[in-house]
Symmetry: C3
Subunit: 257 residues, 3 copies
């Protein structure tokens, strides 16, 4: 059933690394690079051109780069001009527009919609149906839970679009809205269903509409042990680079490199 090379289309100047496998009915447009050991599942589109492709005979597709050891699940649409570090994992039916740049080991879950021209650090996790607007900038280890939306136009429709910025290790719970130009610090927790309309300082737990800081994240108790749950890196390691060694030992080793 797998990798029958049925109905696969490959454009010009496509470079495939070792052991890359491409699913049926998948189309890869011009100027895509896919590094070693990647799996691109069925029915994907990698390097989707913008609409000038249809009208301009001299159209040149921008370069698209998929890092090594990535798994792109079925029905993904990834536009030309985006780049992904190694270890990307996606759900089904993601859409990523041009100019999105992801670090390594990111997760982009089912139905996520990235509007393009945005930056993401390493180990970001975007869960189902997250929507990220243009000009957003996320740090490393940022988790965004389902149906959260980033926005960039405070006077819609206008010509001034400023995306949100989010610091390292910050968690945004489900069904929240992050308003244009806001900066959420590092190590924050934004509660479910919040609307972030002002800047949130580091280490804050903020919730509500508009989101207000209600306490320091270190004051939020764990449900798994005595003491606090946050910073979460001391309590959660699945898929993280500190898995099996602990966050402190990993941090120390990372510093010494």
């Amino acid at each position: 059933m797998k990798f029958n090379n049925h109905n696969v289309k490959i454009g010009l100047n496509v470079r495939l690394g070792k052991n890359v496998r491409i699913g049926d009915n998948t189309t890869i447009y011009d100027n895509v690079q896919i590094a070693d050991n990647c799996i691109i599942a069925n029915d994907c589109v990698i390097g989707e051109p913008d609409s000038s492709y249809y009208s301009n005979d001299n159209y040149q597709n921008p370069e698209t780069i998929i890092g090594a050891n990535s798994l792109i699940r079925s029905h993904a649409i990834i536009y030309a001009g985006s780049t992904f570090g190694e270890g990307l994992t996606t759900g089904h039916r993601i859409t990523v527009r041009e100019g999105a740049h992801f670090g390594k080991n990111c997760l982009i879950s089912t139905l996520v919609d990235i509007q393009g021209n945005a930056q993401f650090g390493d180990y970001c996790r975007l869960y189902s149906n997250v929507h990220i607007c243009e000009y957003s900038k996320l740090g490393n280890y940022v988790f965004i839970f389902p149906y959260t939306i980033f926005t960039n136009d405070s006077r819609p429709p206008s010509n001034v679009c400023i995306g949100p910025t989010v610091g390292d290790y910050t968690i945004i719970a489900v069904h929240s809205v992050v308003l244009p130009g806001t900066t959420i610090g590092s190590n924050c927790l934004i509660g479910a269903n919040s609307v972030v309309s002002r800047d949130i300082p580091d280490m804050s737990f903020a919730v509500g509409s508009p989101a207000k800081v209600v306490r320091d994240i270190r004051e939020i108790g764990s449900r798994e042990k005595d003491g606090s749950q946050y910073p979460w890196m001391y309590n959660f390691e699945r898929g993280m680079p500190w898995e099996g060694i602990g966050f402190d030992a990993w941090s120390k080793a990372a510093e010494n490199k």
Copy 2:
């Protein structure tokens, strides 16, 4: 145009009942059972394997069961290891992960995203873009309106995930969030845009963020007749088993069986 058997792929140990029709470009993986008179429309994936399929040569696909007389509309993705009672109807582009178990005569509308490992009774209706997390448990005749989200992690990201529970005949209106571990009783109505953060007793109309009980559902007037609208089973019968005979007569007959 229909059922040309074009580009259909069928795995090993797939059992198709009488009069099953499979649309073009549909893939059915190993160990799927589809009972009599089902229609699986174009571009569907039934029995999608988990990611170990790509790495493990001894991978065995779990069994997937689709009950009789079901209609699965185009572009559905249903993972291996889920089961559906007879009379399932779906919209387009649904995603259902492994370990989801549905009773009979359920509706799963367009873009619904079921994270798997969840239970649903009979006659549940999940409308457009509903998102159900793992470990959720819904009774019978539960209606969930568009863009409502169930969540299971109260300290994200953590290792303790507890899904919500919803009783029979309960209605949850659009754009609501049901927080981890909450129990919503039977015969409840949750108003639009609510956040359910605490248990809601049977027969309650609750609304807001956090959702608070504002009255007994029997005090909500109908717009179609004098008297109350709820319990809704006395006022709505389209597609329900009491259609044409009324809820009381049906209940009595059901008791006597």
Copy 3:
């Protein structure tokens, strides 16, 4: 790579204008008209029949009309019985049910879900993941931002469904809910994350849950110049018919026609 005529299926009585191009794996059902210079990208379904198509041998597909110079991006599903004026542009994976009628130069972005039996004027823009219920009526130049939902049943589930109505030039920001039967006037701005539960008069800025009028839109300052941002037509012209000439000159010319 483009327009290879690979795996394209065309039904009976399909009329294609001059210079219409149809992408690979696209299906066009019976009784569809596509006017001159349209591009229907890959993997689309135009004229999707309703479910009686599967059971009724005498099923006749209702007429579907796509106006000239339209671009329908990949993976769109458009049901039979809907009509679109010239200059339609869509994103990916839109779903439009039967009986939706759009004026000219509309935008329907990625993952938008139109339930059918609804009316839209000219130059409407529906951004990502907007959900429009049956019996909705939108004027001209209405912009609806991502994840906003229109609803039509105030006592769910009931037999009385009344959609919202929205006047010309009105803007509804992200993640809002418009409740059944409400009328939003013309030249309004509804703030992000609002729930519109009552009628909103012309020229109002309303926000909150429930949405309340907080001021006249003309009192909202611009971020681009001195003075007010709204009515927005004096400050935004990209893709609008007054582009390059200004709203007043265009209005005057339009009146004189």
